[in-house]
Every structure is written in C-alpha cells, then in structure tokens.
C-alpha cells in the first residue's frame, strides 16, 4: 500500500518535534554503543598486543611435557641447545616468523648486600628480544647488549625496592640444575617496565649465557615466536604442531591465547559490563521513543479514528504506525552510525589520556576502534529498538473505540 508509506513518511516530517526526539534517542543510543564498543575493543587490542610484545610472543615452544611436569622438575623438561638450530629452521620454514628467541627462565634471589629479594629471572637473546619485546619500555639506563656479559634489566618495582643506582653491581643467587647454590655478579644496565605491575616487581632480565652459567646448563626453557600479525597465530600454531609431530621433535607449543589468562578474565569482565551498558542504553532509548511515539499517536487520535471509520482494520493502523517507526529507526540508525564513527575518530584523534587501569604501569591515550561488526550490530539494534518501542503506542492507538477516537479533539 504505497499510500501507507507516503502517509508514514509525511507524518514523520509533519511531526517534526516528535521525529527529532526519536531520532536523537536512536542516534544517542547508537553513538554510545559504537563508542563504548570501539573503546573496549581498542582496550582488548592494546592489552593483547602489549602482553604479546612484552612477555608472551605469539607462540611459545617447549620440550614435550613441560607444561604438565615442568613446574616440579624444570631441569628435565628443557630444550637442549643442540636442537635449537634444527627447531629454528623448522619454525622459519613453517611460519613467517619475525623472531624466534630462546628464553631460559629461573627463580633466584637478588641481593644488594643488605637485603635479598626473590626475583623471576629470564635469560634472553638480547638482540632478538629488542624486536620480540618491543612493548617493554626502558625507564632508565640502556638496552641489554650481548657484549656486556653481566648486564641486567630490572623491573621498575624491583629496582625501587632495592637501594641501588643504574650501573651498580648486585649479586644474583640461584640453584643450579643439579641442586647446588650458585651466584653470579650482575650490573644494572637499565630499569624496565612491562606495563604489568606484578611482573615489574620481580622481573630480572639477563643475557642468556649468564643465565646458563648461573644454572649450570646449556639448555633453554622455551622458544618464543613473534609473527607479523596476531591474526596469523592459529594457522601458524597448527602448521608448527604438525611439523613437530612429523619430525618427531618431541616438542609442545602454546599460543598467546592459551597463555593470556588475565586477558581472558578482563575480556570476560568487560563483555559483561558492555552487555549491561547496552541493556541500559537500550532501555533509555526504548522509553524515550515509546513516550514520544505515544504522544504523537495520541495527538493523531482523530485521524486514526477517521482511518478506522473508512475501514482501516486495527492491524492496518498498527502497521501504519510501525511503518513510521521503521523509517525513523532506519534514518536514526544511519545517522547514529555516522555520529558514532565521527565520535570514535574524534576521540582517538584528540588523544586524551586514559586513567591508568588497575595492575598496569603505563598510561595510554584513549583509542576508539571503528569495528564493522559493532556497527552492524548497532544498526540492527537501533532499528529493532525503535520498532519494538513503538509496538505499545501502536497497539494502544488501534484499540481506541472508533467513536471515541472520532470524538477526540
């Protein structure tokens, strides 16, 4: 019924104030969802990349059994140096890895002569780690260089707990693989932060040879692989796993997805918060639309009475009013998308600093991603909510007895 479409469209124009309020409500709702959704996405992204590029890499490779038994007997589940070359070749062949870096993890005590602090040590290939751990920031001092055999990076919290300066010498104690106590001298080359406070309080990074000397071993704990893009992880992990099995390398691997427990907790929490906010926004928008629509429909009671008198059925009246809200919903949602995208870009461009999240040690500017999935969901929601919130006014209008509706002035 083309006339119905025309009436609906023209009624939208005729009832300017009502239409504006409804549109504003839909636009407000869409914009909030797009901006908040995009912000949460950027937060996930930032957190994920910072974890990958400061600790986890995309894929980690261990000797088979390490993740199950390595905690109790780490020395039995190491990757021997002799095999490193071969494994690296496989990795480079299977994936377009940017970096494959060995790490040797250990626990120890760091002493400045007066006090000793438990540390979480990592022996690293300094040159490779510059690429791999680009999200680790040097707060004081300089990079690790392989030539400085005794050089060490201390986490910021750890450094502050000690009474020491960059350049000072400290003693590092650990138990070797066969259980003896061993000690080496280290020199503070720099102070670093990973962005995670709990880690910064205990982190000590030294050159791999020093760590191997301390633990009296030539093995490494793991190989950390950095890919070009995080999206490549799943494919790469699958290919690698297959290649390792095929060549009987006796290795196992985990992706950042498996290792980032904290990330998943935060994502879960914020998805919950986002869901809750979505519901609140939708309720506000729905109430506002429903209210304005009710007023607009009541103002037109007489006209509706006339249509009913001419033989329009209650269903046709409901359809007519819903058609109006379909139009309003589409227009509002489109405007809302536009406003949301502009707001997202504007906020990102403004580079406001974000309040520091708990457990984090770095400030970031607020970024709001424009995510097509969120845009699509928002459009659908904006459209549906304007339709749904008009059902009550429409049904109510269609139920007024015709005689009363006609009497209405």
């Amino acid at each position: 019924m083309i006339l119905g479409w025309k009436v609906a469209l023209l009624n939208i124009l005729r009832n300017g104030r009502r239409s504006l309020i409804t549109l504003a409500a839909v636009v407000f709702g869409c914009t909030s969802l797009i901006v908040f959704g995009g912000f949460v996405q950027s937060m996930y992204d930032g957190m994920r990349e910072s974890m990958i590029r400061s600790q986890l890499g995309h894929i980690q490779i261990y000797a088979a059994g390490y993740n199950q038994y390595g905690k109790a007997e780490p020395e039995k589940y190491q990757i021997p140096s002799a095999k490193l070359e071969q494994i690296s070749n496989v990795i480079e062949k299977q994936t377009q890895a940017l970096v494959v870096a060995p790490r040797l993890n250990f626990n120890g005590l760091l002493s400045d002569g007066k006090q000793s602090i438990a540390i979480m040590g990592i022996g690293v290939d300094a040159e490779k780690e510059v690429l791999l751990s680009s999200a680790i920031h040097i707060v004081q001092g300089e990079d690790l260089f392989p030539e400085d055999a005794a050089a060490a990076h201390l986490g910021e919290g750890l450094f502050n707990a000690l009474n020491a300066e960059v350049g000072d010498h400290l003693t590092l104690l650990a138990s070797t693989q066969d259980g003896a106590i061993n000690a080496v001298d280290i020199q503070i080359a720099g102070v670093v932060t990973t962005g995670v406070k709990a880690l910064d309080d205990r982190l000590l990074r030294v050159n791999l040879p020093l760590a191997q000397e301390l633990l009296y071993t030539t093995d490494v704990t793991r190989l950390v692989v950095l890919l070009e893009e995080t999206e490549m992880t799943d494919m790469a992990a699958e290919d690698l796993g297959k290649a390792f099995r095929d060549q009987n390398l006796n290795l196992e691997l985990k992706s950042w997805w498996d290792l980032a427990g904290y990330y998943h907790q935060v994502v879960g929490l914020f998805n919950g918060v986002f869901g809750f906010i979505t519901v609140i926004v939708l309720v506000i928008v729905a109430l506002s639309i429903s209210n304005t629509m009710l007023m607009a429909v009541m103002e037109r009671t007489r006209e509706i009475g006339t249509i009913r008198a001419m033989g329009g059925t209650p269903t046709q009246v409901v359809g007519l009013i819903l058609l109006e809200s379909v139009f309003l919903g589409i227009i509002g949602s489109l405007l809302g998308l536009l406003a949301g995208i502009l707001a997202a870009k504007g906020i990102t461009y403004a580079e406001w600093m974000m309040p520091r999240p708990p457990g984090s040690t770095q400030d970031y500017p607020i970024r709001v991603f424009v995510v097509s999935e969120i845009l699509m969901k928002t459009f659908t929601l904006g459209f549906l909510i304007s339709l749904i919130s008009s059902i009550y006014p429409a049904v109510k209008a269609s139920r007024i007895p015709v005689v009363n509706a006609l009497r209405f002035t």
């Binding site: 019924m1 083309i2 006339l3 119905g4 025309k6 009436v7 023209l10 009624n11 124009l13 005729r14 007489r302 006209e303 009475g305 006339t306 249509i307 009913r308 008198a309 001419m310 033989g311 329009g312 059925t313 209650p314 269903t315 046709q316 007895p401 015709v402 005689v403 006609l406």
Partner: protein
C-alpha cells in the same frame, strides 16, 4: 430492504447516571432513499448514525445492512464491512492533512488493496466538481471544497449507504446549500443512499424522507406518518433542558 433496524437501544453512563441515547428504535430503509434525521441536540441522532455505520454497537436490537447482521461482526470484520458497504461524511471533514485531495479519496480503496484506485478517485472528484483541485492539500482548500473531497471519499467505494452526521454544521449557509445540492444530485443521478442528520430545515426540505428523534425515541416518520401527539409536550422540555 437495504437497512433493517429493529428494537435498537443504546445507553451511556454519564458519571453515575445512565443516559438512554436510543430507546427501542426500529426503522427500515430502501435503496436510493435520502433520509434526513431531525431532532434537538442530544436526542440521539449521532448515536443512531454511528450504529448504522457500524462505528458503534447497540446494547439490544439488531441491525441488518444489505442482509448482513452487523451486530455479529467482530472489530476486524466491522472494519472490512465499513470499507465495503459504508461511506461516512463527517461534520469537520476529517481529511488526512498530509495527503492531497486525490490521495485522500484514494485512501479507502487502497485500504482494501484496490489497484485502479487513482482513476476511480479522479472520477469521484469529478462527480463532486473538484477534479481541478486533485493535487491540492486540504489546507489549501476551502471548507466547502474539503467537504466535497470528503463526499468524494465516501462515495468512491460505491457503498450501499452514505452516512453524514451534520455535514453542513461547519459551513456557512451558502456553502451548505451547495453541498446539499450536490448530495441531492448524487442521490438522484447515481442512486446513492444517504442518511443525514441535521438541525437545518433546508436540509430536511431536500430529503425524500424525514424522521424525527426525541429523547432517543423515533417520534415521527414522514413516510409512515407516525407522530404520537402525547410526545409533543416533551419537545419543549427537552429543548429547555438543553438550553439550561
């Protein structure tokens, strides 16, 4: 008979009191009649027309229009019934303001999905002498022109009967005469059955039949000439009450 009303009663509740708007009214109407319904204010004219047009339902009695017992119809069916069998002309025209004259006339046809609504609507506008104004909005039309559009809208579906509740009450006397002449012409030339309620003697003068309602009762019918004398006294009383 086209219309068959028997024993119609309708009461309204006004605060705590019940008002008898219609009391046991019976009436039959043949096709092609032009019936004027007379009576003082509050006598029940509008109530009668509303029941005839299936806009309202009576409390007791039966209404048959074209053989259909409209008391039996549900809300949906009554809408369909109105669309097919009834044309209504309102005192205050009730055109849809966002639509042109032509679209207003097309509306009842499009409600039932008629394809050739436009030529039929144009013809109806021609019948009321307004084809020149087809594309104008109601706001651009005079009162008399608006009522002509409304009449075109009522006849475009070729209804069994057109009901007009004081169609000239909002018009000046000159325009009223034009409208009534038009109605008479449509009645004579196209055989459209009209029922018109009015206070106006000019209107009753044109009708082929006049009934008088008083206090909800049919007290006079020019066709059957029932006019019980004992009720005449009450005319003054009712009119007095209304004036107070």
């Amino acid at each position: 008979m086209l219309v068959e009303l028997s024993g119609i009663s309708k009461r309204y509740k006004m605060g705590d009191v019940w008002v008898d708007a219609l009391k046991d009214v019976s009436l039959s109407l043949a096709k092609g009649e032009f019936l004027a319904v007379k009576g003082p204010s509050g006598s029940g004219k509008s109530t009668l027309l509303n029941i005839l047009s299936a806009l309202d339902q009576c409390d007791s009695g039966t209404v048959h229009v074209g053989g259909i017992n409209i008391g039996r119809l549900g809300e949906h069916q009554r809408s369909k019934f109105r669309n097919r069998h009834i044309g209504i002309v309102f005192q205050s025209f009730n055109l849809i303001p966002v639509l042109s004259a032509l679209e207003n006339v097309m509306y009842p046809l499009t409600l039932r999905g008629v394809k050739e609504a436009k030529p039929r609507a144009l013809q109806a506008l021609r019948d009321v002498g307004l084809d020149q104004q087809a594309n104008q909005r109601p706001t651009q039309l005079s009162g008399g022109q608006m009522q002509r559009v409304a009449i075109a809208r009522a006849i475009v579906t070729q209804p069994d009967i057109v009901l007009a509740d004081e169609p000239t009450a909002n018009l000046d006397s000159k325009t009223s005469e034009h409208i009534m002449t038009l109605i008479q012409k449509l009645n004579k030339e196209q055989g459209v059955t009209f029922v018109i309620s009015t206070h106006d003697d000019y209107v009753t003068g044109l009708a082929s039949r006049v009934i008088t309602i008083l206090d909800g009762e049919l007290v006079k019918d020019s066709q059957t000439n029932i006019s019980p004398l004992d009720r005449h006294n009450r005319v003054d009383i009712t009119e007095l009450e209304v004036k107070v």
